[in-house]
């Protein structure tokens, strides 16, 4: 019971903070990804006629939104908590570090739910044809968020300074999108790069979201990969996020 209350309270603290910072959140979760969708459609040219491409661009923008909210935005919040001494304040309380991280993760999930839903509505308004498999989509989104948030937690826990951490989370948040074949087909990349790019969590996430939006369900490999990555990054993040110093 205490753990649930602690997690809920950490969530509420983050939410109360975000209420007053809704502008940057909307930029990260909605405006940039929507703009990227429109940009991809614009440069896609003749290919746009193909409905599958529109769906890929939308899936890419959903993953872009998840990446920005969970690595860049969430990482920034964690870094801010750490380097402004707020983490020290949490450390004075009878609060387990894991409860703190879980509260922050719940916050990330809530943000992503809001961002994804809005993006899907935007996609629908822009005429993207989709038959979402919602149950599968939820699983994909949750696994993607856990995996990417884990990366954010690791960076926030290990960064030696706020500026270093902030640079890393920004680079990762955007870089994992542009390095992965999210807005374009993997065949368009140099071979060596495409092998690497296919292994990125955002690649698995983009394909899984695309399939789920199309109503398909053949994404076992993607779910497994995302699940494994989430386990590894979160385990590392939990391990590194400590109250107590040696």
């Amino acid at each position: 019971m205490k753990r649930a209350t602690d997690i809920a309270t950490v969530f509420r603290i983050q939410l109360a903070g975000m209420r007053r910072e809704v502008g940057p959140f909307l930029l990260a979760a909605l405006v940039f990804p929507s703009a990227m969708y429109l940009f991809a459609v614009a440069v896609g040219g003749a290919e746009v006629a193909h409905e599958q491409n529109r769906l890929r661009y939308l899936a890419g923008s959903v993953v872009f939104s998840l990446s920005l909210t969970s690595i860049s935005w969430l990482g920034y919040l964690l870094l801010e908590n750490r380097f402004t001494g707020r983490l020290k304040l949490f450390a004075t309380l009878p609060l387990a570090p894991s409860s703190y991280v879980l509260g922050v993760l719940v916050f990330a999930l809530a943000q992503s739910a809001l961002g994804t839903t809005t993006l899907l509505l935007v996609g629908r308004a822009l005429g993207v044809q989709m038959r979402p498999n919602f149950a599968l989509l939820v699983v994909v989104i949750v696994l993607t968020i856990l995996c990417l948030s884990g990366l954010g937690v690791v960076v926030a826990a290990r960064a030696r300074s706020f500026s270093e951490g902030s640079l890393l989370t920004d680079t990762l948040g955007a870089g994992l999108i542009f390095l992965a074949p999210v807005y374009y087909a993997p065949e368009m990349m140099p071979h060596a790069m495409s092998v690497f790019a296919r292994l990125l969590p955002t690649s698995f996430a983009a394909r899984a979201v695309e399939v789920a939006l199309a109503g398909g369900h053949d994404i076992g490999v993607e779910l497994l990969a995302l699940g494994l990555m989430a386990t590894v990054t979160l385990a590392l993040g939990f391990r590194l996020m400590r109250w107590r110093e040696n």
Binding site: T9, I13, A16, E21, K88, L89, T92, P94, R244, E245
Partner: protein, 334 residues
């Protein structure tokens, strides 16, 4: 029966009977009785040693025993190891060696358990700029296992106690440094924890805010809390503490009630004056064994403006740490 002795210094005795503690606390901690460990002990530290990764030995074998209901101040120069000591007490830092017990619970082995018994104000901690004073206190009260209603009531009570009623719904980012400091103290007070550990609680506060915080601490003690605080303000330590510890270079070089520490001074009368031949010069401070001796010096030097006072904690501190006041002639007696 175990008697506790702080290194080779003052044998532990009870707090001065100066009315600072309530009757129950005084009864529980008789003025000169030696302490039976485990019966009435809030904090027990033994052989505490802390070596950082870079090799710095910040604490080198600290022993300390704090009884329930006591206020203990920890003094020491910057870098002496006070904060390291308190951070180990609060479980934020793992000791290299030694033992810490909080109300009988092993703080090293069970940090979460002991933190439930503590209210902690770190020396430096950040607040959430966009959260209001009320939100801070209500949220943090929830972490201390208070129900929503109790958290609301506790927040209201602490806000009133800290004199922040007018700021209740203002975001913390709009408050002054002193007001933020008071909020940090308020977070420690939530839920009436039996032990308060306050690292320089009044640093940066103006005199009136400082006094307000002293009152808050006194009220907490009156309600049964034990307090350990570090400070650079001698007046604060004198006014609040039952006992005072001095840490220098990682060691607790003295610990005892104020009177005991004062009794360690050879010359416990202080004469301050300005040299009649250099009236614009620095204040001259001389120390004497007795009041009469100080008066004789006044007569001999034909001083017209001077002051003679009993030694204070400040004198003890400077004597112990080897530091000096400006103009202090170093305890020379004529």
């Amino acid at each position: 029966m175990t008697t506790a002795t702080i290194k080779d210094h003052t044998t532990l005795t009870g707090p001065a009977s100066d009315g600072r503690l309530d009757a129950e606390s005084r009864a529980a901690t008789p003025h000169t009785a030696r302490v039976e460990v485990g019966v009435d002990v809030a904090v027990l530290v033994s052989g505490l040693f802390k070596r950082y990764a870079d090799g710095t030995e910040a604490n080198r074998g600290i022993d300390l025993e704090v009884r329930r209901g006591e206020v203990v101040s920890i003094l020491g120069p910057n870098g002496a190891g006070k904060t390291t000591f308190l951070r180990q007490l609060t479980t934020e830092l793992r000791p290299t060696a030694g033992r810490i017990e909080i109300f009988g619970e092993d703080a090293v082995a069970h940090p979460q358990r002991v933190k439930r018994m503590m209210g902690i104000t770190p020396q430096e901690a950040g607040l959430f700029e966009r959260l209001t004073v009320r939100e801070h206190l209500e949220f943090f009260a929830r972490f201390k296992s208070l129900s929503k209603r109790d958290a609301r009531n506790a927040a209201r009570e602490v806000i009133a106690e800290l004199g922040l009623v007018a700021e209740t719904d203002r975001p913390v980012g709009a408050l002054s440094g002193g007001q933020r400091r008071r909020i940090l103290i308020g977070l420690a007070l939530l839920g009436h924890p039996p032990l308060l550990v306050l690292d320089e609680p009044t640093t940066g506060l103006d005199p009136s805010s400082r006094r307000a915080v002293w009152e808050v601490i006194r009220r907490a003690v009156a309600k049964g809390s034990t307090v350990i605080l570090s400070t650079h303000y001698m007046e604060e330590a004198e006014r609040l503490s039952d006992r005072v510890g001095v840490i220098v270079a990682g060691r607790m070089i003295a610990f005892g009630a104020l009177e005991e520490l004062l009794s360690r001074l050879d010359r416990s009368y202080r004469l301050s004056y300005r040299d009649p031949l250099d009236p614009l010069g620095d204040l001259v401070v001389r120390r004497f064994v007795s009041f009469a001796e100080a008066q004789r010096h006044v007569a001999r030097e034909s001083l017209s403006e001077y002051s003679i006072s009993r030694a204070s904690l400040e004198d003890v501190y400077f004597s112990l740490t080897g530091e000096q006041f400006d103009g202090d002639t170093g305890g020379v007696s004529t």
